[in-house]
């Protein structure tokens, strides 16, 4: 164990010990014929390989201490989040990739930028040890909000096509016709983060706070960080979700106040 660090350093040998636990589970599955063995194996290998690769990349980026690799990594993270968000939707339209990625990019970068520059006042602002995990946490939650919100928006419009058109036929504007669906979608996108804000610390300790406690940070400091993070995540999720819904609204409702139902297609 290193003297300087206030946490216990792990060796690969210790990681291997944890693997034994998984092996035990696999053996149990085989013995009871639960049929979990293969999936458990795949998940274990994926966890190990993905995290080791990320570790290697982060190690490099941390060592370089230059803004360019940090921004490049941040950009790749946004692209992956954009793809993941669209993959979870059941109705798509041409341009959904653009809308999703753009709203993820703007919401996460704006909020992460404000956090680094104005709240945490990290010097220099791109210090990867702050910038990358912060962005990662924001992205993970924003993409969930956006995919849930978009899914609900397109689903409500598809199921409620008659009602949307009813408002249009009576002289409603495209905004008036879309508003019920927009409202539902925005609140659906916010459900997960609002839920976790309600029970945070009671049901479970959030990952970042756990990490800081393990690293020897005082509980009060860890809590302060966690509060800031929750607020950042909630703001970015709201911004990203509403942004994505509004962008998709502009594509699905023409300037002539027409609902472009034909533009939507099922992925199922």
């Amino acid at each position: 164990m290193s003297q300087a660090a206030s946490y216990l350093e792990l060796s690969y040998w210790q990681v291997g010990l944890a693997t034994l636990l998984i092996l035990f589970n696999g053996a149990l599955s085989l013995a009871l014929r639960l049929g979990l063995g293969k999936r458990l194996l795949v998940a274990t290998v994926r966890t190990t390989v993905q995290l080791l690769l990320v570790g290697l990349v982060l190690q490099q980026v941390f060592a370089l201490r230059h803004w360019a690799p940090v921004l490049a990594l941040a950009f790749v993270m946004v692209l992956i989040a954009g793809i993941a968000a669209v993959r979870r939707t059941t109705h798509r339209y041409s341009g959904i990739w653009m809308d999703t990625t753009l709203s993820i990019l703007v919401s996460s970068w704006v909020i992460a930028g404000l956090a680094l520059g104005a709240i945490l006042r990290v010097e220099p602002w791109y210090l990867p040890q702050y910038a990358i995990p912060l962005l990662g946490m924001i992205l993970g939650n924003t993409l969930t909000g956006i995919s849930l919100g978009l899914d609900r928006f397109t689903e409500t419009l598809t199921q409620g096509r008659d009602r949307v058109e009813l408002l249009l036929t009576l002289g409603g504007t495209r905004w008036e016709a879309a508003l019920p669906a927009i409202r539902q979608a925005a609140s659906t996108g916010m459900i997960p983060i609002l839920n976790s804000m309600t029970v945070v610390g009671i049901v479970s300790l959030p990952g970042m706070m756990t990490g800081q406690l393990l690293a020897g940070v005082s509980p009060v400091q860890a809590v302060k960080y966690q509060i800031v993070i929750m607020f950042l995540i909630a703001s970015a999720t709201a911004l990203g979700t509403v942004g994505a819904i509004l962008l998709s609204y502009r594509r699905l409702f023409s300037r002539r106040h027409q609902f472009r139902f034909d533009a939507l297609r099922d992925t199922l």
Partner: protein
């Protein structure tokens, strides 16, 4: 003196099939004059509903345009146009809530925000088919199919349009409900016979004779000479 422009007209209206080269309808020229009681007939799939929707500006077209009093309707004027030329769906949907909440719906839109809901007129219309004030408090989910369509029609009539675009409004109704719908539309038009106009899509030749003066025939997306 130049002749007065028609109330609502279509010029060279055409819409392509989304997946092949064909047209869903094309070369549609028609004029609705003030006071017209017009029928649009044709076999199933000939494009009647699509033309009606195009006239209501609900779908984009690939060619031609719809004119209101001789002028193209600009993007920002579309909601106002639709509040004057109301398209009634084949099964007009109701929003959750009571009959009165449904009838009030048009008056909650910006295009009619300055107009009060004409409750007395609603009661008067209900009287015409033997319903009273208690009908207003009924919940939409408890209505029969016929009653729902009548509420949909009343909602359109109370919004005081000049033109009604009726997409087979009685197609899925029992005989009594269909008769009420016909009566309501005829009475509405007769109230201001020189102004109020409708275009009625129908499959029922007897109904066409009962409710309209002039017939437009549609065949495979083209209009034939009107009779």
């Amino acid at each position: 003196m130049t002749p007065r422009a028609s109330l609502l007209s279509a010029r060279d209206l055409g819409r392509r099939h989304p997946s092949d080269d064909g047209w869903l309808f094309q070369d549609i020229d028609l004029d609705l004059e003030s006071g017209d009681r017009l029928a649009l007939v044709g076999p199933t799939g000939s494009g009647k509903s699509l033309i009606l929707r195009a006239l209501a500006l609900l779908d984009p077209v690939d060619r031609g345009e719809v004119l209101w009093e001789g002028l193209r309707v600009s993007d920002s004027e579309v909601p106002t146009y639709r509040s004057k030329a109301i398209y009634l769906q084949q099964r007009s949907p109701l929003v959750p809530g009571t009959v009165e909440e449904n009838l009030r719906l048009p008056f909650e839109l910006r295009s009619r925000s300055h107009q009060p809901f004409p409750r007395d007129e609603a009661l008067h219309l209900l009287e015409q088919f033997g319903a009273g004030e208690d009908f207003l408090a009924k919940r939409g989910v408890n209505l029969s199919g016929g009653e729902r369509q009548i509420v949909g029609l009343l909602r359109a009539l109370l919004a005081n349009p000049t033109v009604l675009l009726l997409d087979e409004p009685t197609a899925s109704l029992d005989r009594d409900s269909a008769a009420i719908v016909e009566q309501l539309v005829l009475a509405w038009q007769a109230d201001s016979p020189d102004d109020r106009t409708y275009l009625w899509v129908s499959h029922d030749p007897e109904q066409v004779v009962r409710v309209t003066d002039r017939i437009l025939k549609l065949d495979r997306g083209r209009l034939e000479v009107s009779s």
